[in-house]
Symmetry: C2
Subunit: 311 residues, 2 copies
Amino acid sequence: MSQTTVSAPAPDSALRTRLLRESMSSRAKAVEATIDQLLPPAAGAEGRVVEAMRYATLGGGKRLRGYLAAEVASLFGVDPARFNRVAASVEMLHAYSLVHDDLPAMDDDDLRRGQPSTHRKFDEATAILAGDALQTMAFEILSDAATHSDAAIRIGLVSALAAASGAAGMVGGQMIDMAGEGRALSLPEVERLHALKTGCLIRYAAESGAILGDADLSLRTRIAAYGHDLGAAFQIADDVLDATASAEELGKTAGKDEAAGKSTYVALLGVEGAAREARRVAERAQAYLDCFGAEADRLRDLIQYVVDRRS
Amino acid sequence: MSQTTVSAPAPDSALRTRLLRESMSSRAKAVEATIDQLLPPAAGAEGRVVEAMRYATLGGGKRLRGYLAAEVASLFGVDPARFNRVAASVEMLHAYSLVHDDLPAMDDDDLRRGQPSTHRKFDEATAILAGDALQTMAFEILSDAATHSDAAIRIGLVSALAAASGAAGMVGGQMIDMAGEGRALSLPEVERLHALKTGCLIRYAAESGAILGDADLSLRTRIAAYGHDLGAAFQIADDVLDATASAEELGKTAGKDEAAGKSTYVALLGVEGAAREARRVAERAQAYLDCFGAEADRLRDLIQYVVDRRS
């Protein structure tokens, strides 16, 4: 019996993969519709920046962060009208960081999801302002999301605070990332870089769902730890993809990390070693969900999805 | 009797000017100390961005926005420990907008308060990230400022919302400003531009003090309207200064508006006409304070200060 046959997904696994994809696609549509509704129409003299905000946020994509926020909130019985707004604000924070990271002064990336990055589609000034305004709007939505009861207000505030730590992490991580170009970082340094740059926001996305659901501290902590490790697995898999996938598969320039002399998991551990590390972290993420039943299966399958993805 | 003698300040007016300057200087010191305490030390791999955040916020300056927040809060009996944090967050929002506006892709300004602007002192990427992180931190402080009682939480939230509208205004205003370069804007267009670009945040600064003081809606609205007109008078005076003062007096490049083909109050109304307009708006700002007694004298004198300043 060949190895391929041994590791082929069981029918149950194929079904779960399909269910996850359907769930992601349906939640992504709801988040996209919410973003569309929250962003003002692109009118008036300042219309160009609103157009760029719409371009940067409404271009589709996996919506991993929004999905996490929505799926975790749903696990805790939160109403979709409430979690979709928070999921939208998380996606806005993510989009703001991508728009700024792609700028010529930063990673100088011309492509994003196979389309011109925001500063290439518009111009640098508009891209800077659109990113700025997306961050503002994310916090505005989080504040506004909580105006009905005292409990909801408290939830909104804590949520905004957690978002702030997620957003602050992105800046610190990007700074380390750029400072590290051309210099070999150690594995702990690379781990810290990614924990800040992408990990903080993915962790927050998961945690925001638990906050909205008023989860007790122990469950909230487990969900946050799950989000942290999911984010780490995602990032390691990203490094592997950058080294092995084509630009067409990625929808962005491939092999950029190596060209920029960036220290990646692949540079430190090799492709095979990095893939092994991704699986190790993924298993740790699974363990944080042990206290949940079948209702957390989508979150479990999401870990495998993140490690196995080809784009 | 010469005109100079007629308009010379009465002894009472000279005393009030001195009291205002002392009050501004003392509140600026308290806000500066609060910012210094709130910003993390510049350590670790991401230290450079923190250094830039400190550079952009701790360089002194008039602290008009922080002063407004603190002075209005004080008028409503708020404790300094509470209003200094909010004043610090308003100054962080202001600093973030200046750092981004100075960028090469935006106004391309090399000088700010007589010192190299942040991207000249550091680099573009660091300046973009420092601005991003200052905005994040401002919202973090506003959220965190309110964790003790339900009333305080509500206040914090409303305050964050108002800050968001101030921050969103800055982006819209900057976009119109750049889109308008080389094209003649009408007076209503210029008024709208400035109402967004500088007016929203100055208005919010004043309003935040009233929010912290739990002022009733009618007083809060009057304070916000005062802030709005103070901001407008400030901007018109700024246009007059740009056209008439030296770079040394300004601490930044002079005559830049005309060189950039920007539509200013001076371009539309002439130096004399613009100065007259500043006085007219200043009188309207005064009227909003009629319901207050001598305890609002500093806020009254601030209007005159803003119109008369030479830097």
